[in-house]
Amino acid sequence: MNKRTVVLAQSLFVLALFAVPSFAQDEEALKKDLTAVIALQGLPCGEVVTVEEQAETDYAVSCKDGNMYRVYLNAAGRVVVEKRK
């Protein structure tokens, strides 16, 4: 293995090391955002614990209190929160 390959491998390792917390931060920011949206609609949730992206700006979320919602942006530009069963 030549020196260039070693350096490349090390760089990729460092990149992976810092990329993982960045994804985690994005995930946490999204959960916080969706929690705020649900609260703004006056719906019970407590805190969003899991988020599943169904499409762009369309998420299926589950809350700490057991409630599940679909949060999406409709064609009219409104954020809609629908209760899921």
């Binding site: 020196k3 260039r4 350096v7 090390q10 760089s11 460092v14 990149l15 090391l17 810092f18 917390p21 960045s22 920011a29 999204l30 916080k32 955002d33 969706l34 705020a36 949206v37 703004l40 609609q41 700006t57 949060v71 942006l73 530009g77 409104r78 954020v79």
Partner: protein, 176 residues
């Protein structure tokens, strides 16, 4: 080549470094800058601290009864209202997420619609109802901002009455 790796490492670490907010740089809480009229607000007043300081066991000697010196009252700061700047700051702030911003905008649009209906004489909400809705909406925005963007929260608190003055005046509202 090792130099490149070192530079790359430095770039990553610099990009991911999270500087904790300097508490000294934080703005004063919104209550300080609030220059609001005494309008009825459904705002829950902060709960008084439950801890009570123990009274001193020995009574301190009384000071001579001198009238309290009134603190020099600073003239109230003029209400400056720059709606465009506030809007730009709200759009730019990272304290509110994408969906939350759109949701808030939806609620602002709904409130504006209610004002229009009110001024058109339709059987819509009364001005008292509108004031309540306005206060609630402002509170929602402040609750989202106050911990992470105190500067903008303060600006909104300062502009709160000026914005209401625009909304509650039919002529001014028509020009918005």
């Amino acid at each position: 080549m090792a130099r490149y790796a070192a530079v790359l490492l430095l770039l990553f670490t610099a990009g991911c470094a999270k500087v904790p907010p300097d508490p000294r740089a934080s703005q004063p809480p919104p209550e300080v800058v609030a220059t609001q009229a005494a309008a009825p607000q459904p705002v829950a007043t902060p709960v008084a601290p439950t801890t009570v300081r123990p009274a001193p066991r020995v009574a301190a000697p009384r000071a001579p009864a001198t009238p309290p010196v009134a603190a020099p009252t600073a003239p109230p700061a003029p209400l400056t209202l720059d709606l465009d700047a506030l809007e730009a700051q709200l759009k730019a702030t990272k304290a509110i997420g994408f969906f939350t911003k759109i949701s808030l905008k939806n609620q602002v649009d709904d409130l504006m619609k209610q004002f229009r209906e009110h001024y058109q004489g339709k059987s819509g909400p009364t001005m008292t109802d509108l004031r309540r809705s306005y206060d609630l909406l402002i509170m929602k925005v402040l609750s989202l901002l106050q911990d992470t963007d105190q500067k903008l929260a303060s600006a909104i608190v300062s502009s709160r009455e000026a914005i209401w003055a625009l909304l509650s005046d039919q002529n001014k509202f028509a020009n918005l």
